[in-house]
Symmetry: C2
Subunit: 728 residues, 2 copies
């Protein structure tokens, strides 16, 4: 006998770990998919491990044969021959070991690290980002965006607002980060938003239990070449199921493998849950606990009623929020990818659960891109290019609205400059999803760290609104008014106050409520039983006992009623964007190196599209000369007035060096003032140069920066600059 | 004998309370200037109180005279006559009481409250803002911005970026809110960022001590009409000096006046300081205390070195940051004006202390607006219109750079729509400023709450960079390279290690350091004394004793040295914007009511300039009709593609109601589709209507929304719409 709210709270208790870390950085191995999840390299590695083990046993056998030869007094030539053969075997073994090493780390392993180092060095040197509070030796997991990084972020967010909020008519809200406990109690974060932690038993240093186990397995697999193929398979299995291990299972593995604290080699505690929210006190009394929000979504859910009203009490509609979120990670790693404070952009699209069609679905249904459905993952295949519309019609993607957002996210990311060949949409496996979720897809972007979850797109059904309805006693529901009233068969349960009062006295009310809360099947069963037996046993949860219900105590019937509207809890489809992760992946996808003109050094370039570029244009006089500087200033002023970010460079450095500097910031256009009437505009990647009149420059740069025309159009409209000036 | 770092830390200890609440909401009475600070209403009130007291004593005297008449057996007519005269006196007294009441509350008092209520009702009903977490009964001092409020905020911030960051070439940064303790220890916030609090001794409820005293005084002054003019003057004096009272003084006044807890009438504790920062723990160990930043400025200061390098090691330059800040107010009041989490936009302009000129000063020096210099405040005058350039040349404003920012802030606020007649720049009084600050001006905007500090513009000298240099041991300094080396007379102090060692053994090092730390005057005095007397007494702080220094222990001389550069700590000029306060004042300045066409109701309008308006344009078909709806959709799509926020209204409501709805959101333009070829565009405030072809609509609205042309230009270009359609 459970009333409706009790059902909701049981949902919370059943929900899995991953669901509560719902928006991003759900779980580390899921976010950085390991190669073997694709079932690619495993075969070779296995056979090499077996070959190595075979070779080793041959070597061992030959070794003991030689010892026998020696002890049996065999001839020197005979022994020499045997030793020579053994040495050849050893050489073969070394060769297999090298192949195995290469197979494990992947040929690309070292080049990937080197590439990352080149990108990160450039980013930090040019202040795209830097560790926060550096002069005080910093804080792990906190980063500052310097001027170019801040401009990139601001451009990405402006485009997000245009692409989602404006084009989809979303209701944007802006809620505080400080959140009272009750809200996060309702959402489940207070109880379940945890990672498993172990402590160094002597120093008290803390580690994530899964990280330690993961590091141990990876290290063994990479460096212990003599390990048997079976043992290797076991460690790989541990890596594959790492997310699903309970605290006890993690603890048992840590004990079994003898894993100790990495810094001190001290023994470790058993794993225990650590809540990842930053806790604080609201107000001076110390009686009101609050947390820094771990996601922005709850601010939208608690406002559902007002937003629904603002939207004219009509569904579907979407609300959106951009803001800071906070997670007190146990030991942050991977630079900008796992941080303690980050910017989220979240959309909650509220829809009738009985109608998840989308009016603009036809605009995305013909899009084709890399998708990685559940079945392909389970059967060890890899992601493949699918047509979105077909994925919906085949039932791979649950509904049109979910598909619409997948399509819009694809367009958003690729327009920012994410390489579509390194972008895939991966469906959650059943064990990654809460039982109430209808479907869930992550936009994953491949970087030097592997495939990174950057956007989660989930159909979360009615879970969140129900949780807050339950906790707040404010009904977060929608109504559909029928065009004509509908006749509906309704269950009517009418307890008799008089009879219940006589039988149960003070407990009357609770018995009556329990009777009224019965669902249809329970009620009809009771009706049948009362009619045949006249009395039934009935469990009243709130009394914690079973009572006898007699026929005269309750009337149960089905009646035909006219209904003018239906009331329901909307489903929510939630695209949630980790802005910092998208930006980091964009940096990697935009970075390349090319030789300088003299060929004596490699120069760094970010190929940001103008939309994203932190500065749209640099302006420099070809030589230090007051007239040219005046023209440069005038152009810069007209660009600024047009809202185009630009930078003057009036240093006396060579024009080649100045181009290199501006390329390294990803500035798409450079204006070189080499006369007072017309100037040269150079495009970053092609290095094409055209001549444009001084008074047209701002308009040309504005058009091409804001996407109203392409560089190629401009290239055809204006004369090329082909002078022999020593410009690069 | 103090070494350099000791000097810096002594600066921190001397700095006043107000300086640490540096950016905004420094102190409540300062932010809401009380009328009497201008010395305006006081005179009338005083004379009325005196007249009332006179009248009362006349009444008392007459009363006892009548009693004497009665007891002395006077005639009935004589007594009746005296009673009649007494009743007249009582009527006169009531009249004076009413005058006094009116004088205290001000005639405008009630209309101000009514106006505020009308604005706030509209704002909350249309979801400009709402109390956060309303379904859980909210949290004091936390507010959500709903869709229109969020759009206004986003427009204000975009304009701020254009007006300051882009036009002034500032370096924008984005730092985390979570801040380690060491940073805020260095800035002084950990020790001094406090308000004085008292507790209900029985329930533990907390109150701001100054608020209770203020409320008591105001209540007495308003309601105790019989209070003597002297007593009234005393209470007014308390209100005037409230900010300067120490905890003990506040406590003494609370005791003297018998002030108790307002809710329970229980006795109160003595006042004690409560730190206003939200505290938390960073990481899982519990060993690393952090705070939610109370301002964004510190993130810029700690990055000074990198930013200076990014700027090519050149001064001046400015860094800027927009972000959330947090203050755990004891008992927030005044709606959006005093909140626990808010958006700050801060600029730190770093400049050579020896040269505070500004290259663009000439662009602002002719601006004229309301200024309220220190002298005018102290002598009881009011703010007056001054020319900014004259204020600088007369020494009223300390320097050009400070004046430049005052001028830019004036332009920023008035372009947003702040009424320049209700905007003044108030200079800080000496007791409001730290001793190290060179000058400080607040942009104050008049609202129904009084004059509100919305932007603080302070020349903070080298204080902040020195504080972090001291704490971090990283020199946050700049260099000026001389064109030619300069000859400088330098003091050279050379302690003799040998002689000091013989005399002071283990204390040798500390004595030597103390000698080296002498300033020029001390050193030259010592040199003279040693030459005449051969020995001097010298206090060594670090040893806490005085030692005897002999002539052979130290050599002191002045030498001429060549210097190629000078190293110095830059001064910082800081304009700091409370975005939420500016927006709230903007709401009040933009709000008005006008009668509906039928004259039967008052309609609300926000006269936002297009720059600020949350939605630039509404589009509606004149009648419900598929053709018109198609045209409306097409126009809406073209507006969206042009980045112009717009809203369709296809409800069947009357066109007048739809105009009223859109006026109440401050939408400047409404497009009514009344044909399929051309449509009507209506301007909100003038209600002017013009006819524009369907395919030109988006371009016209975009031009006028983005300020490329004015409505009046458009009005002349297109035919007026004067049809008799019942549109309003």
């Amino acid at each position: 006998m459970r009333s409706y709210p009790a059902t909701v709270s049981s949902l919370i208790h059943h929900c899995t770990f991953s669901v509560l870390r719902r928006t991003l950085s759900l779980r580390s191995p899921a976010t950085v998919t390991t190669p073997m999840a694709n079932g690619s390299t495993t075969a070779t590695e296995d056979s090499l491990r077996r070959a190595l083990a075979d070779k080793q046993s041959t070597i061992d056998a030959r070794g003991s044969a030689i010892r026998q030869l020696k002890s049996s007094g065999a001839s020197k030539s005979e022994i020499d021959e045997a030793v020579k053969a053994l040495n050849n075997l050893k050489l073969e073994k070394t060769s297999i070991e090298n192949q195995l090493k290469a197979s494990i780390s992947g040929d690309s392993g070292t080049s990937r690290d080197a590439f990352r180092q080149a990108v990160v060095n450039t980013l930090e040197r040019r202040l795209f980002y830097i560790p926060s509070f550096k002069i005080y030796r910093g804080v792990a997991g906190l980063y500052d965006y310097g001027p170019p990084g801040c401009a990139v972020k601001s451009n990405v967010l402006a485009f997000w607002r245009q692409h989602f909020v404006l084009e989809e008519d979303m209701l944007e809200v802006d809620c505080p980060c400080v959140t009272p406990e009750v809200v996060l109690k309702a959402s489940g974060h207070v109880d379940k938003f945890t990672d498993l932690m172990v402590k160094d038993e002597k120093t008290g240093n803390c580690y994530r239990a899964d990280h330690l186990l993961k590091d141990y397995c990876k290290d063994k697999l990479e460096n212990d070449l003599a390990m048997s193929a079976d043992k290797a398979a076991e460690l790989k299995h541990v890596l594959a199921v790492l997310d699903d291990l309970s605290g006890e299972q993690l603890g048992a593995k840590i004990k079994e493998y003898g894993i100790v604290a990495p810094d001190t080699k001290n023994p470790l505690s058993d794993p225990y849950p650590f809540n990842l929210m930053f806790q604080t006190q609201i107000g001076p009394s110390g009686a009101s606990t609050g947390y820094m929000r771990p996601e922005t979504a709850q601010g939208i859910f608690v406002n559902f009623k007002d937003l629904y009203y603002y939207n004219g009490n009509k569904l579907p509609f979407a609300a959106a929020q951009i803001g800071q979120a906070f997670r007190n990670e146990i030991s942050p790693r991977q630079g900008l990818l796992r941080v303690r404070e980050f910017t989220l952009a979240e959309i909650e699209h509220f829809v009738d659960p009985d109608d998840k069609s989308h009016p603009k679905y036809s605009e995305v249904k013909d899009l084709k891109f890399l998708m990685f459905p559940r079945d392909e993952q389970m059967s060890g295949q890899s992601a493949k290019v699918l047509c979105l519309g077909e994925a919906v019609s085949k039932g791979i993607v649950n509904n049109q609205t979910l598909a619409y957002f997948i399509g819009r996210v694809y367009l958003f990311l690729t327009r920012l400059g994410i390489d579509e060949k390194r972008l895939r949409f991966r469906q959650h496996l059943p064990n990654e999803m809460a039982h109430y979720a209808a479907d869930c897809w992550d936009a994953e972007i491949e970087s030097s760290y592997g495939w990174i979850e950057c956007v989660g797109i989930a159909d979360r059904s009615a879970y969140d609104l129900r949780a807050h309805t339950d906790k707040s006693n404010v009904a977060l529901v929608a109504q559909e008014k029928f065009a004509a009233p509908k006749e509906v068969e309704k269950l009517v349960i009418t307890p008799s106050k008089k009879e219940l009062g006589l039988a149960f006295k003070g407990s009357q009310k609770m018995v009556a409520e329990a009777l009224e809360a019965m669902d249809e099947k329970e009620a009809m069963d009771m009706k049948a039983a009362l009619e045949t037996k006249g009395e039934v046993q009935f469990e009243v949860c709130t009394l914690e006992k079973t009572v006898a219900i007699k026929k005269n105590m309750v009337s149960i019937s089905k009646e035909i009623k006219k209904e003018h509207q239906r009331t329901f809890t909307p489903s929510v489809i939630e695209p949630s964007f980790g802005i910092g992760r998208i930006i980091y992946c964009l940096y990697e996808h935009s970075f390349y190196m090319r030789p300088s003109k003299a060929g004596d050094e490699q120069l760094n370039v970010f190929r940001f599209p103008p939309l994203v570029a932190p500065i749209k244009c640099t302006v420099f006089p070809l030589v230090q000369n007051q007239q040219y500087e005046e023209v440069a200033k005038q152009i810069s002023r007209s660009l600024t007035a047009a809202g185009i970010s630009n930078k003057k460079d009036i240093t006396g450095t060579s024009i080649g060096k100045r181009y290199a500097r501006t390329d390294e910031l990803g500035v798409p256009f450079a204006v070189t003032v080499d006369s007072t009437s017309s100037v040269t505009i150079r495009e970053r990647d092609s290095k094409d140069q055209i001549r444009v009149n001084v008074d047209e420059v701002a308009a040309v740069i504005k058009d091409v920066s804001e996407g109203r025309c392409k560089w190629n159009d401009i290239l055809q409209k204006y004369p090329a600059h082909t002078s022999a000036s020593a410009d690069e």
